[in-house]
């Protein structure tokens, strides 16, 4: 085209450097990583692994840190969008989601050929799993890696029950995940990312990934989930910050079409991340993969100190948020 005269700033040097790195035989991704400078959305250094870290972002934490704070904010006439949309979600238990939990309970008791089910080890009503979800993701010593809830279920189902088809992205896994999470309702999220170890490493990696600009739009997760985007309209959506929300996942959700999926109206955090990636034209990660797990560790640790609230539902399935 003649009308446009494009010139590339900052041209070949970078590419040349990478060419050298890439031409090394068996060069692993890590080798190249050390030479790569990623673009990061601002704010990475302001994060802390606690729900109160929101003070450094939307500065609304004092209005939703607990039920009393929410009541006070409402009494003061603050609207949902003024308190980062966190003013009701975890207080109202979802009736809709009980449908999913019922299905999950049924899977929990589903017996294999030997008459074994999840309940055989974990108790008839999952007694031994109470509170467990508040500490997930965790480092699994035997596997030697950090696992999210769905990965733990996949491994357990496959090894203990011979259920090979309860993989991370299946309906059986997702509904089971929500049922198990519901056993931790009210338990305070506590992911230890302060002690040196795999969880801390995953947290820091997840934080980087959350703020790293990727995809065709050149967005970071943080592009939408930090101010000034937070509270503004993105078409019909009004994003919120990433603090605290992981305590409500898995969440009841009318899914966007994630191709080939049958998600039973439940979004695990892994589904949620993948859905966001799809909507912002990023490459969709594989659920339970190291990068997706790292992002979940970061998000869940950003809910440290907040009570788990399961089941809740996607805010816009009721008109409450419009009436506050």
């Amino acid at each position: 085209m003649q009308r446009f005269n494009q010139s590339v700033i900052n041209p070949a040097e970078f590419v040349a450097a990478l060419l050298i790195a890439g031409s090394v035989t068996h060069a692993s991704a890590t080798d190249i990583a050390e030479t790569t400078q990623h673009d990061y959305w601002p704010g990475r250094d302001k994060t802390i692994p606690h729900v109160s870290g929101d003070t450094n972002f939307s500065d609304t934490y004092q209005d939703w840190k607990d039920a009393a704070a929410i009541a006070a904010a409402r009494a003061a006439g603050k609207a949902s969008h003024e308190v980062n949309f966190k003013d009701f979600r975890w207080l109202v238990k979802s009736l809709d989601a009980e449908l999913v939990i019922d299905e999950g309970r049924e899977v929990f008791h589903r017996q294999n050929a030997n008459g074994q089910s999840c309940a055989s080890c974990h108790g008839e009503n999952g007694e031994k799993l109470k509170g467990a979800y508040a500490n997930l993701p965790k480092f699994n010593e035997r596997l030697g890696r950090v696992v999210v809830g769905p990965s733990q279920i996949e491994v357990c189902a496959s090894e203990r029950l011979g259920q090979q088809d309860w993989r991370v992205d299946t309906r059986a896994n997702s509904v089971l995940d929500m049922y198990v999470a519901s056993l931790s309702d009210g338990h305070v999220v506590d992911i230890d990312v302060g002690t040196d170890g795999p969880l801390k490493t995953a947290y820091l990696k997840g934080r980087d990934l959350f703020f790293k600009r990727t995809g065709q739009f050149h967005y970071a997760c943080a592009s939408c989930h930090t101010p000034p985007t937070v509270g503004n309209y993105l078409r019909g959506q009004r994003p919120t910050t990433f603090f605290g929300d992981a305590s409500q996942y898995p969440i009841y959700h009318f899914p966007y079409a994630l191709p080939g999926d049958d998600l039973a109206h439940v979004f695990t955090l892994q589904h949620q991340i993948r859905s966001c990636q799809q909507l912002s034209r990023m490459h969709q990660g594989t659920e339970g993969s190291p990068s997706m797990t790292a992002i979940e560790v970061f998000l869940k640790a950003s809910a440290n100190g907040y009570p788990m609230s399961i089941p809740t539902q996607q805010y816009n399935l009721d008109t409450d948020y419009l009436e506050q």
């Binding site: 009736l95 809709d96 009980e98 449908l99 019922d102 009318f254 109206h265």
Partner: protein
Amino acid sequence: MSTSTIKARIQLGDHGVATVRTLIAHPMLIDRTDPKTGARLPAHFIEDVEITLNGIPAISLEWGQAVSTNPLVAFELHGVKRGDVLGIRWKDNQGKTDAGEFPVV
């Protein structure tokens, strides 16, 4: 309280007024064409819901195909007291039906 397809939450307030929130597990499928095969997929949706208070009609609903999956019915119930029984019954266009009774506690 629930049956296999109906969930109900009844919150009794002052002056015999209760807020009722009911959810029915149903796909509520619209009349549509399968994008892959081009085959016509028939609509499958709940047409009627009858809700009674102690056997007396309280509210009755008729729905078209455009009511969302797992439909929600929320309304205010009047003249209700502890121990009353809310009856909920639905029927879809394929003749399937379910019913449940939910005591007010």
